[in-house]
């Protein structure tokens, strides 16, 4: 097809469950492109030389490469190119913020809309899931053992990359199920859990061993792993830590949750199927979620699906400063989520029996820019008011997880308790690497995966240099 013809093709729309229906179920919102639509979308790619989109991808997927194969309807080749750079594309195709990474640098976006790279990544990965048992071959065994701490996006990516290079990889997971934030945090309606399971099974077939119910720092220390357990290198990717609360009165009331707890109950423990699943959650008729990020968005959309008549997102800055993805905000609005900007809680009010009955808020106005470059919210004196509610979900971030670091004193940390690494991803302990949230603080799935991929390459070099 000639470039002029390609330029005429409009961006394909992602088919979705209708908003009214999906606001009351946990099934996936996005339904995936039809075959013809996927090929048409792939044809929109102009196959730029030195394509900028690749540089925007934290794992460096050869985007024009897989799109060219897809445009030719050569799905096997498209999948091969995709998996060469990314071991978990069915996941990134669903949860990456493409609009700020690959798609933002697509030349088609200069005039019109960028190529829908995310939709196509998902399409190819789902095709591979239906047609392939194995996504790539593992190199002959090297005889080197690597331990990975945490089966979340960083750990799984690192595991896949190392297994493919022939190393013997064991992933230690603290929870009873692998996936990390992909299973406890991101809701079913954005990332179905059977997809995570399917991708994890692929890694197992590649030779990755996953051991659940092992907490590194408690069950074994890093010293044990490098010592008597006989691992030649370790990658620490144990993820997010303690949730941040506001330290305002009333946060002990029944009905106040951290987003981590609320989402873990519903996602990992499937509280939405209570009592078939015995883990409960206080559903709430009126739910207030505090925060403006993707986690807040996941929580407030979950509240709607749990049956909340009113699900309100309370954010202290204005819409423009919200860190959440535009697609999530749009989906939330369509599902009937209400937004209140420029307000923050000052107290959670309770009934005499200790249940949440309202949140008292104060209005904010935007002042001078702060360290993040965003305008700082400043409380407006005397503007307090109450929002009646029965559940409050606090989604204002997390701190570093102390579990591993407090039993590994030789690990150098920064002043916030996150692990310090060099440009190779190596910590202050030789052979011990780290990535994801325990290094970055709260970040995204794809940035964690980028860390896992870079660490795998560095570990491979480290092992080669020492053999």
């Amino acid at each position: 097809m000639k470039p002029a013809e390609r330029l005429k093709l409009p961006r394909q729309h992602m088919p979705e469950q209708p908003a009214e229906a999906r606001a009351r179920n946990f099934r996936e919102v996005n339904l995936g492109l039809e075959d013809r639509a996927a090929i048409n979308e792939a044809l929109r790619c102009l196959q730029c030389r030195g394509a900028k989109c690749v540089g925007g991808c934290p794992v460096g997927v050869d985007i024009p490469g897989f799109l060219a194969a897809l445009a030719d309807n050569n799905l096997a080749e498209a999948a091969r190119v995709l998996y060469a750079a990314n071991v978990l594309p069915a996941i990134t195709g669903r949860v990456c913020p493409q609009e700020t990474q690959c798609e933002v640098s697509c030349v088609r976006g200069n005039k019109g809309e960028p190529v829908a790279v995310g939709y196509l990544e998902r399409y190819v990965a789902d095709w591979a899931a239906r047609h392939w048992d194995q996504v790539c071959e593992a190199a002959p065994p090297t005889g080197r053992k690597v331990a990975i701490v945490g089966a979340g996006p960083a750990g799984l990516t690192c595991a896949g990359e190392l297994a493919r290079r022939g190393h013997a990889v064991t992933v230690f997971e603290a929870l009873h199920k692998p996936g990390g934030v992909l299973v406890y945090g991101i809701p079913e309606f954005r990332l179905p859990k059977d997809i995570v399971e399917r991708e994890v099974d692929k890694l197992r077939r590649l030779g990755v061993r996953i051991e659940c119910n092992v907490v590194i720092g408690q069950t074994y220390t890093i010293g044990d792993l490098m010592g008597e357990e006989g691992f030649h290198a370790v990658f620490i990717a144990n993820g997010a830590g303690l949730p941040v609360f506001q330290n305002i009165p009333g946060e002990s009331l029944k009905g106040v949750y951290s987003a981590n707890e609320y989402l873990t109950r519903v996602n990992l423990m499937e509280a939405y199927r209570f009592p078939e699943s015995p883990t409960p959650v206080i559903a709430g008729r009126r739910v207030v979620v505090v925060g403006g990020g993707n986690t807040a968005m996941d929580a407030v959309r979950t509240a709607r699906r749990l049956g909340a008549e009113e699900a309100l997102l309370l954010y202290r800055r204005s819409r423009q400063e919200m860190p959440a993805r535009a697609e999530e905000v749009k989906h939330a609005e369509e599902e009937g989520v209400r937004f209140t900007f420029l307000a923050a809680p000052v107290e959670v009010l309770g009934t005499p029996e200790g249940w949440v009955r309202a949140v008292r808020c104060i209005r904010m106005e935007l002042g001078e820019p702060d360290a993040s470059g965003r305008r700082r919210p400043v409380p407006v004196a005397g503007s307090e008011y109450e929002i009646p509610c029965d559940v409050v979900v606090v989604a204002i971030g997390t701190r570093s997880n102390p579990l591993l670091t407090q039993t590994t004193p030789e690990l150098k940390l920064n002043r916030w308790g996150y692990i310090e690494v060099d440009e190779q991803g190596m910590t202050s302990i030789p052979g011990v690497f780290a990535g994801g949230d325990i290094v970055r603080g709260a970040a995204t799935v794809i940035l964690a995966m980028g860390d896992g991929k870079r660490a795998a390459a560095a570990i491979d070099r480290y092992l080669a240099a020492r053999s």
């Binding site: 069950t219 997010a240 303690l242 002990s252 981590n260 707890e261 209570f274 015995p278």
Partner: protein
């Protein structure tokens, strides 16, 4: 994935089950004060349980469970030869034990299982160790024989006077503090929240170092969810990574008691659902409770 085989199972008291579970990695690393998170069967809830004893050589841990909600019922229903689906740990910080002099361990109900591992460790450090253990009536006082083999003295207490001291553990503790020739230097307590609160009040006037082991609602147990937050000395702390033991004189017990009731109505619904699923009436649970009573009374 492998589960965790049950070597032995027996009833300690009506509705209170003792399981010896193969968990070699936990047993190897266990120190007094540690807990584990358990899921009895696939799909069940995650619940925290203190490790009542660990045998590193045998690779086993002892768990003591009281059948209260659906999940604890499922655990109590397990038999030797069966398995626990998931056991993760050891979790939490171990008890800070030292040579105090005379230490009194105060256990109420299944809380007695929590103080059991401390007894041996404290004895080994050269302490005089007394245990004050309570229950509603005679069959509900657990581990008396086991503690008797370790401690210098064991003082069973029952609410109805059917065994040992007639009254609450706090009254017996107060008497010990007043009358024992060896001054009480430290108290470690575990049991129902009102009991631990009362213990803290008994030791507060004399400023006796008092540690309480808390069992708040928990989900992951690894410092991620924040469900187990407690107020200690006016600060929000997390029982899973900062505890589960804290200075009893600084704990806001009323706050903890309030939070523990959050799922009371759901617990009933889950239990009802479980009853229907296993076919209550002819049910194994009813049988189990009957056996439990028999076992405990025979013991």
């Amino acid at each position: 994935m492998s589960a965790y085989p049950i070597r032995h199972a027996r009833w300690l008291a009506p509705g209170v089950r003792c399981l010896i579970v193969e968990a070699p990695r936990v047993a190897r690393r266990h120190r007094p004060g540690h807990f584990v998170i358990v899921r009895p069967v696939e799909g069940s809830e995650r619940i925290p349980l203190t490790v009542a004893h660990a045998d590193a050589d045998a690779g086993t841990i002892m768990l003591v469970v009281q059948a209260v909600g659906a999940t604890t019922r499922q655990l109590c229903d397990l038999e030797a030869g069966g398995e626990v689906r998931d056991v993760v740990g050891p979790l939490g910080r171990p008890t800070e034990l030292e040579r105090f002099g005379h230490v009194v361990l105060v256990g109420g109900g299944v809380g007695t299982a929590v103080i059991h591992p401390q007894a041996a460790a404290l004895k080994k450090l050269g302490n005089k160790v007394s245990a004050v253990i309570g229950g509603r009536s005679r069959p509900y006082v657990i581990l008396e024989e086991e503690l008797g083999r370790i401690c210098d003295a064991v003082y069973p207490c029952t609410d109805d006077g059917s065994h040992g001291f007639h009254g609450f553990v706090t009254a017996r503790l107060a008497r010990l503090i007043d009358e024992d020739p060896d001054p009480v230097r430290a108290v470690i307590t575990a049991g129902p929240v009102p009991m631990m609160k009362a213990v803290a009040e008994v030791t507060r006037p004399a400023g006796i170092h008092t540690i309480a082991s808390l069992n708040p609602i928990m989900v992951d147990g690894t410092g991620m969810c924040g469900g187990c937050r407690v107020q200690v000395g006016g600060k929000t702390l997390f029982a899973c990574v900062d505890g589960p033991e804290f200075d009893a004189h600084r704990i806001d017990f009323d706050d903890l008691a309030g939070r523990l009731t959050a799922y009371r109505s759901q617990e009933q619904a889950a239990l009802e659902h479980l009853r229907q699923a296993v076919g209550e009436g002819s049910c194994r649970l009813a049988g189990a409770v009957a056996r439990a009573t028999g076992d405990a009374l025979g013991a």
